[in-house]
């Protein structure tokens, strides 16, 4: 089977399930590395970016989430648009991206914005938020709002998904993160996030986003109560949609973090993390990039994943709140130098990219 894949064949559902059950870590890893090499050469990408969570107040309160609060609850917060702009008005002076953007007073090439589903903010507030960022920093890539938030905007505004997405795009949104996909399997979804939109709805939002010209990422949350089959079905749905639209930029497997959540349990194993990355690389033959998201996996596993099929470590991030609420043991941010060092020590060529994977600098 591995030979066939090596020659460009497509993995079937049964074969992929078999890979998840196999303990042949090395054959899977080496083939994934070979596939990655074919697609991205020896490059490993990173970005100088910043996360901003406008609010943690959320009407959903998913069981695996330790970040959200109800309105008025202790520890809840809301950022004003001015506060958001202020957070972007600084950055890494040594960032290659920053050299261009610093003239605008911003040292990042991308801002990543996700937050809770706020009970009172109208859709216009989000349009204003994106518009203000875009007007202030016209060259900054704005990556914002998961499919779950888009669905919510449609509900609170009474507009269709397409209209919501077009309005956001016209305000300056270019990219959407891949969060909220969790795991598509209905039974599991009902256990871990019953209030959240269905898998089908998530895919619908993404399909429309791609159609109106918004690039997105895709994710899978694993390591909680799902089976190997659930993982494979999830990956295959992503592959099918990508065949249709080509709008996904990168796939990110998100290791479940058990602390402070209602489900509890354990961290996924480092071996499972690497295997999941490698198998994703093999199944998702129509995705350009497989991201080893260091904030979720830890910098050690992420670096190792660069030899198991991943080609991107994500970025500097600066301030990460969601995963850290659930017991992430990583720092909240990394410097550009740290990322370059990790990539070089993995024997890869560091490439700084912008939010759309344009190369800014090659090390």
């Amino acid at each position: 089977m591995l030979d066939r894949i090596s020659n460009g064949g497509r993995l079937t559902r049964d074969e992929t399930v078999e890979l998840f059950r196999s303990d042949d870590l090395f054959s899977i890893g080496k083939l994934a590395a070979e596939v990655s090499e074919r697609r991205n050469g020896n490059n490993a990408y990173f970005i100088v970016n910043r996360h901003i969570n406008p609010t943690n107040i959320c009407v959903n309160r998913c069981k695996f989430c330790a970040f959200s609060r109800s309105k008025g609850e202790e520890g809840s917060f809301e950022l004003t648009i001015d506060q958001i702009l202020q957070r972007l008005s600084s950055g890494f002076e040594n960032s290659q991206a920053g050299r261009g953007l610093l003239k605008q007073g911003c040292g990042f090439s991308e801002v990543h914005i996700v937050g809770g589903l706020h009970p009172d903010w109208p859709f216009d507030h989000y349009i204003e938020m994106i518009g203000a960022i875009h007007r202030t920093f016209p060259r900054l890539n704005i990556k914002a709002f998961t499919a779950v938030e888009i669905d919510y905007f449609s509900k609170i505004s009474g507009l269709g998904l397409e209209e919501v997405l077009i309005k956001l795009r016209e305000s300056g949104l270019q990219i959407m993160p891949g969060g909220g996909a969790e795991i598509f399997a209905e039974g599991v979804r009902n256990q871990v996030c019953p209030e959240k939109i269905s898998g089908a709805r998530w895919l619908e939002v993404m399909e429309i986003a791609h159609r109106v010209g918004i690039k997105t990422n895709a994710t899978m949350l694993y390591g909680h109560v799902e089976t190997s089959e659930d993982r494979v079905d999830h990956l295959l749905k992503l592959r099918d949609l990508q065949d249709k639209t080509g709008g996904f930029q990168a796939f990110i497997s998100l290791a479940y973090h058990p602390k402070n959540t209602e489900i509890g349990g354990f961290y996924s194993s480092g071996i499972d993390d690497l295997k999941t990355i490698a198998i994703s690389r093999l199944v998702l033959d129509n995705f350009d990039h497989i991201k080893a998201y260091w904030i979720m996996l830890g910098e050690k596993i992420s670096q190792t994943a660069l030899l198991f099929g991943a080609d991107d470590l994500d970025g500097t991030i600066i301030e990460e709140k969601i995963t850290h609420s659930a017991g992430a043991m990583t720092g909240e941010g990394m410097t550009r130098d740290d990322l370059i060092y990790l990539i070089r020590k993995a024997g890869k060529t560091p490439v700084e990219r912008d939010g759309l994977y344009n190369k800014i600098w090659t090390g």
Partner: protein
């Protein structure tokens, strides 16, 4: 199977594909431990003092005798720690400390006797720098010093203080610490007296690949002569709060460096049965990965760990977490004693 040569090992360390190296190490681990069990020990690190005249540049734990943070553990504190260890099904204490200028041989023998008369617990203690320090202070041979400690109740000797067994590197890292030859001498004498010891290696400071190979080679040669090493434990220099990191821009070894050295250790040390993964320095997730890169032992549950914590690294982990981590990595978990005899399966 032919033994790997120094030249070949150096080539592997410098340029082998990590997954090829890992696969070879994994194969070797499988043939040495075909039952698929990963072991761990329940023990407690007890550091009887942090006063140390050696002042190694890579250490964040030591203090001067005059420092307000200097301490020598009282017997009451020590006994309490041992009682707590036994209550948690512990079988061993790892008793190590600084080279305190005012503590003589009597302190050590009294300490050992007081423990052994009260508790049934294995004392894994006093790494070679401590043994040599005592021998010198009291004009004893190394053999005599070990015999005295053994009579007082010392069971086995930990492999600490090896750092990198290359005097060129030691001259920079730990100029006052015993040289390579002395470290090996302590181990050889202990083995000849029938005691078992471990061997460690701290890499990722200022050594060259050649130094790592030299280190592995002297361990392998001694093991050929005595067979006294139970396990080899490679771990990486943790630069936080140390002199070395202030003086030079040493960046910590990365995960990939660790896996490479670990895998090569498994391949090179064909006569050392057990290789430990170091979750204390690498975190649980990478330690799990290490189980597929040559390691077959998860080390200790570390009820208390002071030295690595002083360098800014701290993972809080319970026995339940360790057992789960081993199982999630695809192995059966078992508690062992100092001699790697399995005493309980999970």
């Amino acid at each position: 199977m032919d033994r790997i040569t120094k030249e070949r090992a150096l080539e592997y360390l410098k340029s082998a594909n990590l997954l090829d190296l890992g696969e070879a190490a994994d194969g070797m681990r499988k043939s040495l431990h075909p039952e698929g069990i990963v072991t761990f020990v329940v023990d407690r690190n007890i550091n009887y003092t942090n006063v140390c005249i050696n002042q190694c540049t890579f250490c964040a734990f030591y203090r001067d005798a005059e420092s307000p943070e200097a301490y020598v553990l009282s017997e009451d504190e020590l006994f309490k720690k041992i009682e707590e260890t036994l209550a948690l099904d512990g079988t061993q204490i790892l008793l190590q400390g600084g080279l305190h200028p005012d503590l003589g041989l009597d302190y050590y023998t009294d300490l050992l006797k007081s423990i052994k008369t009260r508790f049934e617990i294995n004392v894994h203690g006093f790494s070679p720098p401590e043994v040599c320090y005592l021998a010198k202070k009291h004009n004893l041979t190394i053999r005599e010093a070990i015999e005295i400690l053994r009579q007082a109740g010392l069971d086995s000797i930990p492999g600490g203080g090896a750092e990198i067994l290359s005097d060129r590197v030691r001259e920079v890292l730990s100029p006052k610490k015993i040289k390579s030859g002395e470290w090996l001498r302590v181990m050889e004498e202990a083995h000849r007296l029938g005691m078992r010891t471990t061997a460690t290696m701290m890499f990722g400071s200022i050594e060259e690949p050649e130094d790592i190979i030299e280190h592995l080679d002297v361990i392998r040669s001694l093991q050929d002569r005595t067979g006294g090493f139970t396990a080899f434990i490679p771990w990486s220099f943790q630069p936080g709060n140390t002199e070395l990191s202030k003086e030079s821009a040493v960046r910590p070894a990365t995960a990939i460096d660790y896996l490479r050295v670990l895998a090569l250790s498994r391949i090179y040390l064909d006569n050392v049965r057990n290789i430990q993964a170091s979750w204390v320095t690498q975190g649980l997730k990478l330690a799990q990965v290490a189980l597929r890169f040559g390691a077959n032992d998860f080390g200790s549950t570390m009820i208390e760990e002071n030295v690595v914590r002083a360098a800014g690294v701290s993972y809080s982990v319970s026995k339940e977490d360790i057992v789960h981590a081993i199982k999630a990595a695809g192995f059966d978990a078992a508690q062992r004693n100092t001699y790697y005899t399995i005493i309980r399966k999970y």
